[in-house]
Each structure stands twice: as C-alpha cells, then as structure tokens.
C-alpha cells in the first residue's frame, strides 16, 4: 500500500509514452498521521469477502510499464504496476479498499489492535496457518526483518554489508521495537540468531508487538508487501528479487512465469491457507504504449486495463468497444500551477492573484480532461480532493478585470497589449513568465497553450518550455529553476502528508515546498492538526491552513485527474480503486465467464 503524496510521476512520460509513468514510491511523510476513516471489522468489504467455490478461468490485465525487479519496497523496483501484481502475491496487513479505507487482511491476520497510546503499541496476531509458498511459516521474523530493512537505521545492512535500498522509510523509522511472542502450537520462542539480528525477539512468534516512538497514527499504512525474510536474507533485499524463484507467495496467487517486458502469469497459490482466489490464472501483459490498450481490449487480447494516463482518445475509442464496462473516476491526483516566489515578480501577491484570476479553470477543464470525464469541476483545496471526506472547497473566481486592477495597482503599465513592470529586469518590457512541465504529455501541453492564451488576454506573456521528468522533477523544481510549474500532487487518505509541501520553505522538514512560500500561521495550523486527538479536528486545522494558502495564492489547484478503467463484461467482481494499490486490490474475487 503505497500511500501519500509526493511528486507526481503519473503521465510525466517524457517523449515516449510508457516510460516513467506512475510510480508507487511509497512516500509517507513523517509526523503523526491519523486515519480519516478506519474500518477494521473483519466483515468489511473486499479483502474479507468469502467465496465458497473457485470458478477458474483466466483474466488478462494490461500493465503499461515494465518491471525493474520484484522487491516493491526498493527505490529501484517501486512501481505502480508492480504493486498491482504484488497485491495478490505478498502478504498485506491492510489493504486500501475502493472506498479509500484501509481494511485489515483477515486471512493473514486474526487481529491488529492498538493496545496503548503511550508509547503507541500495536499488536498483530497472525493466522497460525499462514505460510509462504515454499512452506516456511509467516512469523514475527518477517515483521522484524521488514522493519529493520526499512528503518533507515544504518546499523542494519543488506547482504554483503550494503545499505538497504528503500523506496521509503516512513513509519518504519518511528518503530522502536518489533517483538514476537506465542509461537504456534505453544512451542517455545526461538532464540534468534546474531546474523539475522533477531536475538531475543522470538522470531517464530505468531503474535507481533510493535512499539512506535514517536507515535505513528498512520500505522495501518505499513507492513504491506511483506517481503519473505528467509529469502531476502539469502539473496539480498536490494537486488535479490529478480524473478519468481525469489518472489515467493504469501497470498492468494503465486508467480508461475515471468517473461520480461512481455507477460507475467499468476496462478493460484497451492499453499494458500485461506479462501483461494477465484480465477485460475491472472495474466499481466506489459504494454509499452497506452494507445495500444484499446485495440488490445477490442481484439480480446486483454480483459482489463487502467491506463497510467488517460486521454480522450482512449476513452472515446474504448466507448466503441462493445460488451465492455467503462468507469471514469476522479483520482487522488490533482493538477496545479505552482508559483515560484523566489521570482521577483511572482513574489508579489498581486501578480500571483492576477494570474489566478485570469485563469479560466473551467474552460481549461472543458477543453482537456472535461472531455474524458464529464462533470469535473475546478478543485477547491490542496489538502483533500472532492472525493474525500472532509473536503472543503474554496471557490476562486475567474475574473480578468480583477487581474487588470491588480496589475494596475502595482503600477504596471499596459503597452501594446502587455503589462510592463516598473521595476527589476523586466522594467519597461512585457511581463513575461515561462511555464514548465513534463514533455510528451498532451494534456499538459494543451493546458499550457490554453494558459498562454488566457494570460495573453490579461496582458501577461507566457513562454512554454517543457523538460523530461528527470530534469523537471529532479532538478528544476527542487533547485527553484522555474517560474511557473504545472504538475500534479497525489493526495492520500492521510491529510498530514501535505505538511512538507506547504510548511515554510525555510524549515528543512519542508523539503517539498518548492514555491518558497513561508507563513507561520500555516505552519502552526498544520502542526497542531497533526497532533490533534481526533481526525475531524486535524482536518479542520488543515482546511484552515488551506484557506490561508488560498489567500496567499501559493499554488492554483486545477482539477482532479480522472482515472479510467475498462474491462470486458465477461470479467466480474472488478471494483475500481483510485488509490495507489490499484484495481487489483480485490483480484482474488474476480471471476470470468465465457
């Protein structure tokens, strides 16, 4: 369950579609997080739904990115497409369901409860029958190893003394200890080995006690994609998981074959202790180009797809494919304009406001994503998206005459259609900004062109210059080499993930604040929100912070990016999930007919 918001890479494919698309880099921000809604009842939907019979058959799903290894918890292999596979292969303590709520996996765990608030203690009880597909029981040792590998503590090392390669250490780095107890069958605790760094931790225990310090309210987000410790210690966490031999199963399905860049076949895990998956096989076929998805569905080469970037053509051509279910949902990512206040002109609130009032967001939506999904409205918050509980939308009017007033107020003069600043390097010249984004993304290019024409109307000149994702996200944004940026942030069920993006850039904790904005009120509201005793109080505080961000026009949110799912009607049981676990979150319940 890769959670929270970092730089969006969805659709940032530079040049060739199909590269660097969606990354599932688990980017859980540090700090006390709390769940907005929690449902731990075993009877909750999804993961716990029982099936009395296995119906067999094969479903084929398209994936539009290639794999780079199987350990999804490493930075090298952490990809959305791999998450879609590993949902069915590696044990997940919790899985985010289609209502964006984390639900306990009641086949792996008998219970998972927070037993103490100070220090925060969580006790997991494993199903005593839970085993890896090679017969090794799933035990406390797996939890101990997964914690150590992702703790960020350099005392723990991978084979050969190498530091662990982690996609994220969030959550795990707040764990004080992981201790096992109650080995199954009343056996004695194993002493553990020095080499395995689990001496005295009762590695064969089936009850696991996890202590956090400081508290980690978002504890349900960790112990997902649990890596088999006994394999990882032999082959290595970082680069050892190269194929099905190492990536053994601890869940419904096992990887029976993998043909690099072509296909991956999941078959029912014969050692699975719980309710078996309904399909005999789930085949993942790797596509290099999203434009090939619809033809493949049409040709019955695949049964389901969920493109990493959806465009009008995919939706339109898919709509012509008969006997197919098409679903468009507002996703957790939202596109926005980012204003760099380090720029002497964008440093002026009036300039930012003039731009924001001059942007007709509805017109941009209508001409770009609006065609893909009807009813998309301008987004009114940076903290939560409209599909999340607690969303408070602030409206910001399209008002070009207000833009005029603001620029005049600054003393800028309009000469032959463009305002000329009265200070700085652009003094006496048309007020000009460059907007940057990722190249090779049609919707972004179109948005920039519309922005350019709308700015021209209010007397601001816009140049467009796009870069590949590596340069844009890797260099230009973090080093402040931009004026206006267009990209997406990913929100999560956990609102405090926004803290590092909007807290004052002067603090080292605010590594993702690229706008050079600073506001002590925003800082204190977000800090108090994160420490709030209740989720509703937390959201209230964050929404107050957002209101200040609107007043300061730090960024201009545009819209939630729609996600598109299409599957043939022969495939049943699909429940689209817009979170980063993807549509396969309940693939064990899929069935196919015909």
């Amino acid at each position: 369950m890769a959670v929270t918001g970092a730089v969006d890479e969805q659709g940032s494919a530079m040049g060739i579609k199909g590269l660097l698309k969606r990354s599932a880099v688990a980017a859980l921000a540090a700090g006390a997080l709390s769940l907005s809604v929690v449902a731990i009842t075993p009877s909750a939907s999804g993961a716990s739904t029982k099936a009395s019979s296995s119906s067999g058959g094969t479903a084929t799903m398209a994936l539009d990115e290639n794999l780079a290894g199987f350990n999804i918890n490493t930075s090298a292999a952490s990809e959305f497409v791999l998450q879609e596979i590993m949902n069915m292969v590696w044990p997940q303590a919790f899985i985010v369901n289609n209502k964006l709520q984390p639900v306990m996996n009641n086949q792996l765990l008998e219970s998972a409860t927070q037993t103490s608030d100070s220090p925060q203690t969580v006790v997991y009880t494993l199903n005593p029958k839970a085993v890896w597909s090679d017969g090794t029981p799933i035990t406390a040792d797996d939890f101990i190893y997964n914690w150590q590998a992702q703790s960020g503590n350099t005392a723990y090392t991978d084979v050969g003394g190498k530091p662990y390669d982690d996609a994220s250490t969030s959550g795990y780095n707040q764990i004080q200890s992981v201790v096992g107890s109650n080995p199954s069958g009343g056996a004695a605790c194993a002493p553990g080995s020095t080499a395995d760094r689990n001496v005295g931790l009762c590695p064969n225990g089936r009850t696991i006690t996890v202590t956090f310090k400081p508290s980690f309210t978002d504890w349900r987000a960790i112990f997902t994609d649990i890596v088999p410790a006994h394999i990882a210690r032999t082959v290595g966490w970082n680069t050892g998981f190269v194929g099905p031999t190492q990536a053994i199963s601890g869940s419904w399905y096992t990887i029976s074959s993998y043909n690099e860049n072509q296909s991956l076949v999941l078959t029912r895990n014969p050692s699975y202790w719980g309710t078996p998956g309904k399909l005999n096989k789930i085949v993942f076929q790797f596509f290099s180009d999203d434009s090939q998805l619809v033809p493949a569905l049409q040709n019955k080469e695949i049964n389901i797809f969920n493109p990493s970037t959806v465009n009008l053509s995919i939706v339109q051509t898919a709509s012509q494919v008969p006997n197919t279910t098409k679903v468009t949902l507002p996703g957790l990512e939202f596109e926005h304009f980012d204003f760099n206040q380090a720029d002497p002109y964008l440093a002026k609130l009036q300039v930012r406001e003039a731009i924001a009032h001059g942007v007709n967001r509805q017109a941009i939506i209508t001409r770009t994503v609006g065609e893909i999904a009807k009813g998309i409205a301008p987004l009114g918050s940076r903290m939560l998206v409209s599909t999340q509980k607690g969303y408070v939308g602030t409206s910001y009017a399209y008002n070009p005459s207000q833009s005029d007033n603001l620029l005049k107020e600054l003393g800028f003069k309009k000469v032959s259609g463009y305002y000329q600043p009265n200070y700085g390097s652009q003094k006496g010249q048309p007020l000009t900004f460059t907007i940057q984004s990722t190249s090779g993304n049609t919707i972004r290019a179109q948005t920039e062109e519309l922005f350019q024409s709308q700015m021209k109307a209010i007397g601001i000149k816009i140049n467009i210059q796009n870069y590949d994702a590596n340069t844009f996200f890797g260099t230009n944004l973090p080093t402040g080499q931009y004026q206006i940026g267009e990209f997406a942030w990913v929100t999560t069920p956990f609102v405090s993930g926004n803290q590092p993006i909007y807290c004052s850039y002067t603090s080292t904790q605010c590594a993702e604040n690229w706008t050079h904005s600073a506001n002590s009120q925003v800082d204190s509201l977000m800090a108090s929100g994160s420490a709030a005793p209740s989720t509703s109080q937390e959201i209230t505080d964050y929404n107050k912070a957002d209101a200040i961000l609107w007043q300061n026009m730090v960024t201009l949110p545009l819209y939630q990016k729609p996600q598109f799912f299409a599957w043939s009607n022969t495939l049943k049981g699909v429940l689209p999930n817009t979170s980063s676990v993807g549509v396969t979150w309940n693939a064990e319940n899929w069935t196919i007919s015909g």
Partner: protein
C-alpha cells in the same frame, strides 16, 4: 582475401572504440540519471549513495569509461540503472528484434527481386508504372505512419469485422502461451505478421528500385544481346544471363542496408509494442541509462560492420572478376 577481411575488421574495431568513447561522453554529460531519486525526500540518503556507487556516478569520467571498457571486453556490459544485468537483458531483446527483422528481411528480398524483375521486364508498360509508383509512395511513407495506418485502418477493422483476432496489434507473443514449442508455433507466427508486413513494405521498395534498374542495365549488356542473338529462349536468357548479374548489386545493398533496417525496427517495435532492442534502447536513452545505450550501440554497430563485410565478400562470390589483394 583473408588479409583484407582482417584489415577491415581491425579498422572497424578502432572505429567502434571511438564510437563508444563518443557515446559515453555524450551520455555522461546528459545529466544525472538519479536526479529524481535524489529529489525525493522520502528516500533515505544512503539509498541514493548506494545506487550512485553501483553506477560509479561519482568517479571521474575516464575512470568510468575504463570500468565499462574493461568489463565490455570480458562480455560484462555492466548493470542498468535499476541494477539489472545489461548483457543478459540485451540478449533477450536482441532475440525479439531479430525474430522480426530476419523474417521481414528475407521476405522483403524476395518481394523486391520479384517486383524489380517484373517491372524491368515490363519496362514502360502499365505494370512497370504501377510498381514504380507504389514503390515511390512507400519510400515516401515514414515507417511510423505506415505502421499506424496498417494497425488502425487494416488490422483492427478486419479483426472487428470477423469478430476474431487475425492480426495481433501489440506485443511479440501471447502471454498465456504454454505447452511445447511446436504447439506455440502458430502463436509465434501470428504476432509478427503486422510488424513484419510494415518492415517488408518499407524495406522492399528501395531494393526493388535497385533491382529494376540493375536488371535494365543487364538486359542491355552485350553478353545478353549475344545470348538473345543466339536464339536462346527469353526465359533462359532471363534466368541464366540477366538475373544472376542483376542480383549482385541488390544483394550488396541489402547487406549494407542493415543499419537502416535496425533503425526502422526501433520504430516498428514502438508502434507494435514489441519489447525488442530498439524499444529497450529508447527506454535507456530516456532514463539516461548509459550502459543500456552503449550496449545497444555496440551490438548494432557490430552487426553493421559484419554486414558491410559480408557485402564486400558477396561481391567477390557473386562476381568472380573481383579479387581481393
């Protein structure tokens, strides 16, 4: 002959050596492949450092090149950015590409010879004009346009009309393949159909134009006139005297064209979603994966050199008048 081949090979190796330096420097100066990773505040610094060390990113340029070169000499092409072994990846992708390219080239040669001969024999007649115009239109069509058009306007409508999959539009094989090699053969044959047709149409046209003009040239040659004058049958003249001589240039051109065919394969692979060498290379370029790019250029350059050499040798074999010192 032998000495000549050795000499050519030596020169080629030197050229190749400089080509790798050129590419290495160019790529190394293109930017930091780990910039994205580095910018992600959720990734521990130790992870980034470890990845940098793995790729020798902090070593001086010449040292990095030396590491690559000494590995390459021993068949070790290093690891990709994500830690995969480049040599083994390259081989699996090469297999995919060759499957498409070899089939397409062989068929294209036959089509080119047939069309060329037909046009030459019917010189100035409707058949000739039709073939020539077709060839020129195909020459003027960029390969991605042809591929897309075949996919969108031929393959998919046919599949839809027949309500079954005749033409596979994506990937080099079906994912659910199982069973013996023989039982998989039909599936192996189905997938390459569309990309192969694309490559054939693009490649054959220029070869057919050669074949035609070289045929016309030979038809005019003295020994052919003599053969005709002796009263040999048209068929006999055509096959015994004309075709043999007219085949020499076209064969050579095919061998020399291999670099262009590989270039065309990049595009074909992208249009039809084949995970071949070209697609792999392009990914490497976009992710600044130095070792992947170098491996691709090394492999393709080796092929080009070998085929150029083959062209030279073919000259000698097909035309006994040429001797190599």
């Amino acid at each position: 002959m032998f000495a000549y081949v050795i000499r050519r090979l030596l020169i080629s190796v030197v050229v190749l050596f400089f080509a790798t330096i050129f590419v290495f420097v160019l790529v190394a100066k293109s930017g930091n492949p780990l910039a994205l990773l580095n910018a992600n505040p959720h990734i521990p610094h130790a992870t980034v450092v470890a990845r940098e060390n793995l790729l020798h990113l902090n070593d001086p340029l010449w040292q990095r090149y030396w590491i690559w070169l000494s590995g390459a000499i021993h068949g070790n092409l290093g690891t990709s950015i994500n830690g995969q072994d480049v040599a083994s990846e390259a081989m699996s992708h090469l297999f995919v590409t060759l499957r498409m390219v070899i089939v397409a080239t062989v068929i294209a040669i036959f089509v080119a010879i047939f069309m060329g001969v037909l046009a030459a024999v019917r010189q100035g007649k409707v058949t000739d004009h039709a073939i020539t115009v077709t060839n020129f239109v195909l020459l003027a069509t960029p390969i991605f346009v042809l591929g897309l058009a075949l996919k969108e306007f031929v393959a998919i409508p046919i599949n839809q009309h027949l309500n079954t999959t005749i033409f596979y539009t994506d990937g080099e094989q079906s994912p659910t393949l199982s069973g013996s090699f023989l039982s998989r053969l039909p599936a192996y044959a189905e997938h390459p159909a569309l990309p192969a047709i694309t490559l054939i149409l693009i490649s054959y046209a220029s070869w057919a134009i050669y074949q035609r003009s070289s045929m016309i040239e030979t038809l005019d040659a003295d020994h052919v006139r003599l053969a005709r004058a002796k009263g040999l049958s048209q068929r006999r003249v055509l096959f015994r005297h004309v075709l043999r001589n007219a085949l020499i240039p076209v064969t050579t051109v095919v061998a020399l064209d291999f670099a262009a065919v590989l270039g065309g394969a990049i595009i074909t692979e992208i249009v039809f979603g084949w995970q071949g060498l070209g697609q792999w290379y392009l990914n490497g370029v976009l992710t600044l994966d130095t070792n992947v790019m170098l491996a691709y250029l090394l492999i393709t350059a080796t092929f080009v050199i070998l085929f150029n050499l083959l062209a030279d040798i073919l000259y000698g074999v097909l035309d006994p008048r040429i001797r190599y010192a």
